[in-house]
Structures are given as structure tokens and as C-alpha cells.
């Protein structure tokens, strides 16, 4: 056990201790945030926030536009200013005081159409404000009770046929968890799996491997490497979670569903357990690839074939939305490399039978045992074949050693 920990510690510190790891780690979220911030800033700065005038020929507007006391961060408010006639509004538009003006004609309530005058197209924030003002005053005129609730729309509650799972319709944001898990899994296979592959091929290329396997069994070496790289992956996730949490705390008010976010601990536990087990399967497969290939380039090209199945649930996303218990989502749930995202996604949408969840875990555990057994063989055969690439069937040519 000590040697497994030694190898894991070395693998972990070797990667986490490098500057390039932190540059890549922080670079992804910081880069994404920067892109988002820059694009938001550009669209914010390009918005025309000049007031819009209106001439109410229909005498509809009894309650003028509400002026917010304080604007939120990057919140837009287009002031709607009443004008007595078109001429004064036109003059202000021409001299730049207004960006345009709207005429509510006398017969508005029969046509429900207004004219907007300007030399440029109104943005969605302008049409939104105008529509809001008109809708609010129309409703007031009709004396509609519970006006606010009507504007918010109805809430539809969903219930599975067996009654075990329900959704209040506002649960659409629960999709965030499986998507986050799917993306994390993909990133972990890409980065940590990549590190593992790189480390194995390098050890094979620089002949360190022969020293290593005369100090411990091949399986100890592999387990240590997988644990170390899993640690690297979790460090990545942890750092991103911390950054995300800070972001959420800062922008809490700007995220509409944040307060409603209510995810069960059981669901999270299952999803993260799937993530870990699937990663171990992928890491074991990468270890086999690393042992069989003689150069990093060869390993990376085969690695890309391994990454493809992890993406399958993304390709069949529509099938998951349409029928989460359909054939494709179920098959992908039982396939070790796509199980994480598939099962997590299905569980977010529907009630997945308990036996299926158990079966997925059994498949993953059996896959881990199988992959470890096979990679143990690959280590013994492949890691000392410095100059040639081995094929998978070579592992079954008579060669055995007590692992």
C-alpha cells in the first residue's frame, strides 16, 4: 500500500507542482469568464440607452412606466417619455435627445399595433419596454385579478407513472448537474487521462519503467498512477468549484434560478460515484494504450478513439430529452465510458429503475476488474518492449506473471 501511495504522491505532485498545470487549470475558467465579460461589455456598450418617446393617441396609458430606484449590475433601463404630439417627439429624435418615438394610435385596441419612428432598428430592450408598458395598461383597463401571476405564466407539475419521481416544472435547471458531470468527466479523461498516458509512455521511452516494476508489482504501479491522476482531476474540479462558487456568490442576484436550485444529496452522490468509477475504467484503458504504444504520438491518436464514446450522450442528447428511458439512453447507460453522463442525465429527467442503477454500478466495477487485469498483462508485456508497438492480441500470447 505504501508504494501505491508513493507512486500516487509522485504523480500528483509531479503534475500539480508544474506551472503549466496551473496555467491550464486557471486558464480555462478565467479565459471563459474573460470571453463572457468582454462580449457582455461590448454588447452593453453598444446598446443605445437614450430614452424613447411615446404619443398616446389612444389614451391608454394611465399608469406610466415605473422608474427603478437603482439599476443592477449591467442592467439596462430605457426611459419611456410621454409626448403631447409627434412634432416635438420628432424634433427630439432628430436632435438626439430620443433614440426614437412610438405612436399609440387612437384605434389601438382594435388593431393592437403601434408605429415606431427612428432611423435605426429598435433593440429588444426597447421593444420589451414598450410592450411591457402597453400590456400593463391594457390589463389595468380590463381589471384583471392576479395580474402578476398571469404575467409569470402557469406552473406545470410533472409526475412519473409510478409516482416515485416528480418535478414542478421549474426543475429544468437540474439538467445543470448531469451536464456539469458530463463535461467534468470529459475534461478529466482528456486532461488527467492525457497525463496518465503521457507519464506511461514517457516512462517506457526513458526506460524508467524497468526500474519501477522491479520495485513493485505492475498492478501497484498502475493503481498508484490512477489514484495520483484522479487526485489531479479532483484538484481541477475543486479549483473550478471554488471559482464557480465565488462567481455565484458575487452574481447571485443575476442568476434567476439560483435560489430554487435544490439538488438531492443522493443524486449528487450517485453522479459523482459514476464519475469516479467511469474515470477509473477510462484510466485503465489508457494505461493499456500507454503500455502497448511505443511513442506518445501513437498513444494520443488511439486516445482520441477512447474519448469518442465519452461524447456519445452529447450526440444523442435529443434522444435523452425525448425519452430518457428509451433504448439509446439505456444502452449508453450500460456502456462504461458513457455511463456517467447517460445515467446522470436520465435520472435528472425521469425515474430510473433501481435495478438499472445497480446494474450500471456492477458493470462499472466488473469493467474496472477486467481492465486492471488486462492492463497488468499489458504492463508486463508492453512496457519492456521498447522498440515496437504491440497489438492487443499479443497480451494473450503465453506470458504470465504473478501480479
Amino acid at each position: 500500500m505504501k508504494k501505491i501511495i508513493d507512486v500516487a504522491r509522485y504523480e500528483y505532485t509531479h503534475h500539480v507542482g508544474k506551472r503549466r498545470f496551473w496555467v491550464a487549470l486557471l486558464g480555462i475558467p478565467v479565459g471563459l469568464l474573460l470571453i463572457m465579460a468582454v462580449s457582455m461589455l461590448f454588447s452593453y456598450l453598444s446598446l443605445d440607452t437614450e430614452p424613447v418617446g411615446y404619443i398616446d393617441q389612444a389614451n391608454l396609458i394611465t399608469q406610466p412606466q415605473e422608474v427603478p430606484e437603482k439599476l443592477g449590475f449591467m442592467e439596462i433601463f430605457i426611459q419611456l417619455i410621454p409626448y403631447a404630439n409627434e412634432e416635438s417627439a420628432r424634433a427630439d429624435t432628430e436632435n438626439g435627445t430620443l433614440q426614437g418615438f412610438v405612436v399609440i394610435p387612437a384605434g389601438y385596441q382594435s388593431t393592437y399595433s403601434v408605429n415606431y419612428y427612428s432611423n435605426k432598428l429598435p433593440g429588444s430592450e426597447v421593444t420589451g419596454e414598450i410592450n411591457g408598458l402597453l400590456r400593463q395598461n391594457l390589463m389595468l383597463r380590463e381589471q384583471v385579478p392576479h395580474l402578476d401571476r398571469i404575467e409569470e405564466g402557469s406552473q406545470i407539475s410533472l409526475q412519473s407513472l409510478d409516482g416515485r419521481q416528480s418535478s414542478d416544472g421549474a426543475d429544468w435547471h437540474h439538467i445543470i448537474v448531469p451536464i456539469a458531470i458530463g463535461i467534468l468527466y470529459f475534461i478529466m479523461v482528456m486532461t488527467c487521462g492525457g497525463y496518465l498516458l503521457q507519464s506511461l509512455v514517457e516512462e517506457k521511452q526513458n526506460r524508467t519503467m524497468e526500474i519501477m516494476i522491479t520495485s513493485m508489482t505492475p498492478n501497484q504501479l498502475m493503481i498508484g498512477k490512477i489514484i495520483g491522476n484522479l487526485g489531479v482531476g479532483f484538484t481541477q474540479i475543486l479549483v473550478w468549484i471554488v471559482i464557480l462558487s465565488i462567481g455565484l456568490l458575487i452574481f447571485r442576484d443575476q442568476i434567476p434560478f439560483f435560489d430554487d436550485l435544490n439538488i438531492s444529496a443522493g443524486y449528487l452522490t450517485i453522479s459523482f460515484s459514476l464519475l469516479i468509477l467511469s474515470f477509473i475504467v477510462a484510466a485503465g484503458l489508457l494505461a493499456i494504450i500507454g503500455a502497448l504504444m511505443s511513442t506518445l504520438e501513437e498513444g494520443q491518436s488511439v486516445n482520441s478513439l477512447l474519448i469518442l464514446p465519452t461524447m456519445l450522450p452529447f450526440y444523442f442528447f435529443q434522444a435523452f430529452l425525448k425519452n430518457p428511458n428509451g433504448t439509446i439512453p439505456r444502452v449508453l447507460s450500460f456502456f462504461p465510458l458513457s455511463a456517467t453522463f447517460s445515467l446522470s442525465l436520465r435520472m435528472a429527467f425521469t425515474s430510473v429503475p433501481a435495478w438499472e442503477i445497480v446494474l450500471v454500478f456492477v458493470i462499472l466495477i466488473v469493467s474496472i476488474a477486467l481492465v486492471f487485469w488486462l492492463s497488468g498483462k499489458a504492463f508486463r508485456r508492453g512496457l519492456l518492449e521498447y522498440h515496437k508497438k504491440l497489438k492487443l492480441r499479443d497480451l494473450f500470447v503465453k506470458e504470465e506473471k504473478n501480479g
Binding site: D6, E210, I211, M212, T214, S215, T217, L384, E399
Partner: protein, 305 residues
Amino acid sequence: MDTIVVNHIAKSFGETKAVQDVSFSVRPGEIFGLLGPNGSGKTTSIRMILDIYQPEQGEITILGGPMTEEKLNHIGYLPEERGLYQDIDVARNLTYLATLKNMTKEQIDQKLPAWLERFDLTEHQKKKTKELSKGMQQKAQLIAALIHEPEIIIIDEPFSALDPVNTQLVKDLLVELRDQGKTIIMCTHQMNQVEKLCDRLVLIDHGKVLLEGSLKEVQERFATNQVLIQTNGDLPESLPGVQSIQREGLYYRLTPSDGFTPHAILQQLIDQKIGLNSFEIATPTLDEIFIKVVQEGRNGNEEDN
């Protein structure tokens, strides 16, 4: 008790019989030469001893039993293909590899400086391995094989990248370790080093043992009655009791006729009043024995086929 007993082991890779029948034993306190031409099965035999490969036939006993994980900690190995992490510094390389031999951090901190000092690597310890010369890398690799004070030391071509000064350093070290009672297996093509260092040896080719024994036994087995002499004048074209006379630089190689011994030749030389600077019985060099045995073995194989 023999530390390593290799008993009729065999190993194939697909159709290739890497080792067909190899047996030998190694005792504590000796340097044992494992010799053979390229592709003879030496490395496969070593990997079977180290439990990297499992023999298909025969058995190997290490320290009185089969190899265990614990016994791996008592073995120091310098492989033919040297291997250190190229992108990390020497000290970290050695610390990590020593950790895998179950050394504690305190033990490493205590022993590593002395080893670095002995191999003149102290000031290079913070350099990345790839920044070191081949010879320095080899010395660092030797430290990795020896720092945990193993009972069994297996070294493959230990002098290959070393200059004469460092070769002598390693030779002295090996003798010192032998005197401490360590069991040392040395694979090398440098027969002069084997002659100087090895107590016993085994020569293998095509996965089979061709020759085994102590250096003295082997040389005696292949000894002829030839004598090497150095004279202070020219030799006559023929001498009684001498079948042939060959000039080899400053020496003459004399082959006695049937029934004549080197002593009889010496008597003849004295009787003829030939001034002698040196007289010695021509012991075959290990190089000569190596070539002779390997060629005979290969000719035998061809005839069998």
C-alpha cells in the same frame, strides 16, 4: 546458502525461444559474471530472476524461496537500458526511486549526500537528468541501484558509458560490496573486466548454458600447452620439442610437439642458451574462450539442424 538459484528455466515469446535451458547459482560475497553475445538470453534470464517474466519451465529461488514483493526491496538493479526521469532533477529522481525501495525520507536524507559525494555528483544534484552527461547519468543510475543497500545487486554493462577513472571507481565499489557479502550478478561484454572482477561465470548463447565455473576453472579447462616467451635476441627457426613458433609483437608463442610439456620447452631454451626476459604458460583470455565457445556452440547447433 546460495542467494540465487536458477534451475533449468525456459521462456518463449511467441515462436522465439529466448531462453531454452539455463541453470546457475550465485553465492553471497561473490561477483558472478553472466556472459553471452547479444540476443543470447541474458536480459530475459535477468527479467525472470526479477520476476518481471515468469519462466515457462524450471524455477528460480531468491533468498531461499520464490520472489516476493518484500524481496524486491533487497534487490538493486541497473538495467542495460538506463532509465531516469529526464525532466526532474537528480536528487528528486533518486529520492523517489529510493522511496519505492521502502526507504524512509530520513534514511534517504542521511545516505544520499554520501552517495552523491562518492560519485562526484553533489554539485549536479539539482540539475535535470537530461542536462547531465551519459557518464553522470550512469553514475546516478548506479546510486539508484545501490542506495537502499540491497543484498542482491544485478548490474547490466556497468562500465559502458564510464571513463577509466569512473570505471575504476565502480570496480572498487563492486569489490567493496562483494567484501561486504553482497551477491552481485554482472552482465558485460567487457571480458577484461570479467577477468579482473568475477569470481565465477556462466556463458550462455541461444538460451543455453555453454560454460560455467570459476574463472580459474574455465581458463584451465581451455588451457593449452602453449608458452609465451620474450627473448633478448631472435629465436632459431625451429627448436626440438616445439611444433610451431609464432611471433606476436614482442612475444613468441611456442606450441609444444605431442608429448612435450612447457617445462621441457623451458629446458630446451636454457640448453640452447637463449636469453629469456620472460616465460609464461599461455593462459587463454576470456575473450578467446568466449569466441571459441560461442562459435563451437553455434557450429554444433548448425550440425544438429
